[in-house]
Subunit: 311 residues, 3 copies
């Protein structure tokens, strides 16, 4: 059923306390592999799946053993993710907003997932080994650092055809990722595309001809990054990309400060040494112990609990 | 002369009161087809053309019957649009600024057109079936949701070669649409390009080999969108794309609220029903009756009348 | 050693007072050609090279004779630029931050170069005729208006593999230039790429099959722009691109004002006349004499001297 599963995970896993049901997780070396676990329901996006994904990506963010997080699905499932579970919506789940919530209280579950991934301080990779619609293309693809996909995947953003809003911060991310000319084409055509369509192809790092090749290809990159990259460098780099200065001058002050901090760290010393000795680095710094108090330098906002947020 | 013209439009058309001369307009089902009407002048951009375009796009924005607006030209015209009418400029029109206006009073007519299109709440499509220069590539292409073009079109932004400013908010739009690396190449080379040039190709949704195929291809998409899409969903989606939050968190609050509003609307109910029943939707909501008071959530500024604007 | 060199430059050059050592410069017609001058050190980025580049690009910005600035290297050098000089870093240069500087005092030398290029009011072109790593891909490529490159160039951003921060405002520029989907791929893979890689290809204006063809191709464009373009138009256009309004309405006020100013200038008159007469223009306006007091309209910040900057 779930092909990256139980045999490999030890009996008592660090994920037991997370109460995961709609995804599974395992840690292989420093790679956290997360797998959608609703194959029978076309891996459709449920409220519980959103809770599980937020928890497991937050685990990956905070656990120093994790250097890269990879999301995938069973390649034999009918879909990578068929969008929100319409049956759950019909039963009144929070996916499109609960009746008892006011306009300002609703928190889109797909957006909560998107933020847990986009704000993650570790490298995130998605291996899309099947068809993807709605949240399967927004929450489960856009916020990642790298997207691998099967060339046969049928992908679509059907929001204007369903009379609902494009969710999961997709209207924030899509323009930034591939430009507004492509974003409008993807969003407003509502068309079913394939990854080689010029409208969407820039989104993908690698397109694979076979469904079963997608996760292995993603894992090759994951291992390369996990072996060769500094966690502190990655966390500052993601911060600089996602929270740039308001001008090139303001940004220069940010990346100068990041360089001064990292440049005197243990990872930079090891990086230079390994480079000189032409060997693989063995970076000692961790996010728990080695982040400067300056990080994060941007204002963070708690948008988890409806009534605590005052934007 | 004007090939999408009088025979089809009823004797008393809703456009009679708009006083159109330099463009024509007709409403076919829910598609508003606008045609440049200065073939003998190479469809060059006149002050009156700018007034006509602003009026007709505002009509399309406000009339609930209109779901998609398509701009095109006579495919047998010498050009789709040869840029501003230089004879008019020589006669002292407002195109590059009237003598009697102060520096802060001038309002670029191309920019007024660009805003009427970019801020439109309906889907906008341009069918570029000829050569395009200056305003013909800025005001008349960049602000649209979709751009169709004839592969043989010669297109250029000649501003630095004319000693004038790139107008029609093109320096705002071009980077957002295709990225700054391409924007500088287009703007500063001043080169004559064709649509398949890698420098500009990302701008276009579809490139057609024959001039006469461009409008028909645009109309296929227009009908598809007009038949299958919700007006309220489109208006919120365009708002989210054009007015994103300042951070992913701020944006999450915006699209959550949009989802909560739309999710309880009639279009979402019809969209879900049609999806379940595998039939075409018949969306009942209109912008006149169904937009929440929250829309538009961004601050709007009146930049039409020079002396009323205090930016 | 330095192939665009002494034989052509007159004995007393305008650059003598700049004290250049790690780059050379010559003025040919209105094109300032700058050449990296550390071939024996793989043209690695030294503190003195950063000082030289800032000086020579500021010279180009301020001298009215200069219309285009082209940066290149000796095509027979082992690299276009192999990144920061690691020996200098080991000796305690300011490249990654001096020990005696506090966190907020460091000013990344690559960022100082990037700003001198990105903020330049003249057209800037880089001819990358060899391999490029680190600062050779950040400071020496991203801030330019046009990038020409040899198809065989091996290019890489190795920051996460060295445990340091991506520098030279690269995290500001890269997303703007080619979109965030490509920016993360370039930055976080740390991979060695070639210019035709889809991940990076959008960055380049032209890719040349031979190393020795790169500078000549860049010079063809440089001459075309220098002969046919207005300096005032270019300086306003770059300002509009780099400092857009916060909304399309705000931007409309900016480009309307720029058009009103330029439209009544001598360059616009000459541009219109040359266009009508189908001849090359001979633009009379210069930045020294002809810029309106409104320019620059954005707030500039001095980030050169650590203790004078209070962002």
């Amino acid at each position: 059923m779930n092909y990256v599963s139980t045999a490999v995970t030890p009996a008592i896993s660090p994920f037991d306390q997370l109460g995961l049901t709609d995804v599974t997780a395992k840690l292989e070396d420093s790679i956290l592999i997360v797998t959608l676990n609703r194959s029978r329901k076309l891996n459709s996006f449920s409220e519980k799946m959103s809770v599980d994904l937020v928890r497991v990506f937050q685990f990956g963010d905070q656990d120093d053993r994790v250097r890269v997080i990879v999301l995938s699905a069973d390649p034999s499932a009918p879909a990578f993710c068929a969008g929100v579970d319409m049956e759950e919506v019909a039963r009144g789940s929070s996916l499109l907003g609960r009746k008892e919530d006011s306009e300002t209280e609703h928190r889109d579950p797909g957006g909560q997932v998107a933020m847990a991934i986009y704000n993650n301080r570790k490298i995130t990779i998605v291996a899309v080994n099947g068809h993807a619609s709605g949240a399967g293309l927004t929450a489960l693809q856009l916020p990642f650092d790298f997207r691998f996909i099967w060339s046969g995947s049928k992908i679509t953003m059907p929001f204007v055809r369903l009379g609902i809003a494009p969710e999961s911060t997709s209207t924030y991310l899509l323009s930034r990722l591939i430009g507004e000319a492509r974003a409008t084409a993807v969003l407003f055509s509502g068309a079913v595309m394939q990854p080689d369509s010029p409208v969407i192809s820039n989104l993908y790092y690698q397109v694979l001809p076979n469904r079963t090749d997608v996760l292995p290809a993603a894992l090759v990159l994951a291992r390369n990054i996990s072996t060769n990259s500094s966690q502190t460098s990655i966390s500052y780099s993601k911060g600089l990309l996602h929270h740039p200065g308001a001008s090139i001058e303001a940004h220069h002050l940010l990346d100068s400060r990041a360089m001064k901090i990292l440049g005197s760290g243990n990872d930079a010393a090891e990086g230079a040494k390994a480079f000189m000795q032409r060997r693989k680095p063995n970076f000692p710094d961790t996010l728990t112990k080695s982040l400067s108090p300056w990080y994060p330098w941007w204002k963070t906002t708690d948008v988890r609990h409806p009534k605590s947020s005052k934007l």
